[in-house]
Amino acid sequence: MRRHTRRVYNLCYRFTGNSTVAEDLTQEVLLRVYRTIGSYQSQYGAFATWLTSVTRNLLVDHHRRTRHDRMTDSIDDVLPVVEDKPSQVRAPDRQAEAAELSAQLQRGLARLSPELREAVILRDLQGLDYREIQTVLRVPEGTVKSRINRGRIELAGILKQMGVRPA
């Protein structure tokens, strides 16, 4: 379960950009999984996909719940909360570079619309295939594909604006 929990945590963190919230949501997901494991049937798909669906539903709930906070505190959208170090340090270390990229990516993701953000996270950070994402998001395949495509293009544009060099 540890591997799954880590995946859930990653999904929550990448979507919300806040590690405390991500931890709370991960815990909530696992509680919900334990409560409802009986409703999981293998014909629904792989366990990981089911788990992702549960997580995603909670993320949507959370997003709706906190919509009001975000609107009253609109500075969030301009300056998303990021817990990583300032970006000007050019560490030679590969690990530091990866951490830096991870933080920049997080800032970029926060500026995507939720629909595009979740599509890109599921595809390019969680590694789900289109069919699995279709199952999780419950939208037609064409919608999945176009959201992922638009999300990638917008994210690349945002990162370019932020001055992140492409690989």
């Binding site: 540890r2 591997r3 509680l31 409560r35 999981y40 629904y44 539903n57 293009i153 690349a156």
Partner: protein
């Protein structure tokens, strides 16, 4: 057919994932070669995908697993609800395998071994004086302590299995095959679940669970979880063991 910027943008992911047909591929490349905007966009997105795919998942916060275990235990109450899958066990068996009880038994056994060892090692049979704690301690040799340590470790491992099994056995096996919980379309609101995200599932209260009839279903759910546990990349015991 000549492709314009819009079409190239629309099919960018297909191009990068190599799912364009041969003629589409040719049209895409032809436009890209003659359009600075599109060739730059392709390079950017291609680079971004490379970066994202190479990114390691974030490590899980250290205390998170323990926190989740505590929360699940608080909600599911350990042995009270657990072990229903093991219907063929005697009714008292779950109580015996509760970690605290098992640990108690192990401790008692180890103590008995130490005491017996002390008594039998003493020349001239047993005297009450030889049951003096100091003598007992002196007599208790390293082997016995090692045996005790092994037992303690076994009980600790057992405890981890117990915790997980107890959680696994909890779910409602009689539920029909359905989509994941709260799986309504985006537009539909689910008031109770939204306002009480960690509250008890109302279905669980009203549903009465026959103790044995749902055995196969429970086993399926358990097997599914166990199957997934088998593929864990880390031993959970290291974290779980540090719990009170």
């Amino acid at each position: 057919m000549d492709w314009n910027c819009t079409l190239v943008e629309e099919r960018l992911s297909d191009f990068l994932e190599g799912t364009l047909l041969a003629d589409e591929q040719a049209a895409f490349s032809a436009h890209r070669a003659g359009c600075a905007h599109c060739s730059q966009m392709v390079a950017q997105v291609d680079g971004l995908l490379g970066q994202m795919h190479a990114l390691e998942p974030l490590p899980m916060p250290l205390q998170l697993a323990a926190r989740i275990l505590t929360a699940t235990r608080a909600e599911f109450g350990g042995a009270k609800q657990g072990w229903r899958g093991w219907a063929w066990w005697p009714r008292w068996a779950p109580a015996v395998w509760q970690p605290r009880v098992a640990m108690g038994i192990a401790t008692a056994l180890a103590t008995l071994v130490i005491v017996l060892h002390a008594v039998s090692a003493a020349p001239g049979g047993s005297k009450v004086a030889q049951l003096n704690p100091l003598n007992v301690l002196r007599a208790g040799n390293r082997q016995v302590h090692l045996a005790y340590a092994h037992t303690a470790k076994f009980v600790n491992d057992l405890r981890v299995v117990y915790e997980i099994e107890a959680l696994m056995a909890q779910p409602q096996a009689a539920a029909p095959p359905v989509a994941p919980p709260n799986a309504e379309p985006e537009q539909r609101q689910t008031p109770e679940q939204e306002s009480h995200p960690v509250g008890p599932n109302p279905r669980e209260k009203t549903q009465t669970m026959p103790r044995r009839n749902n055995f196969p279903a429970i086993r399926n759910a358990e097997l599914a979880m166990v199957e997934n546990m088998d593929s864990t990349d880390e031993q959970p015991s290291a974290t779980l063991r540090s719990l009170p």
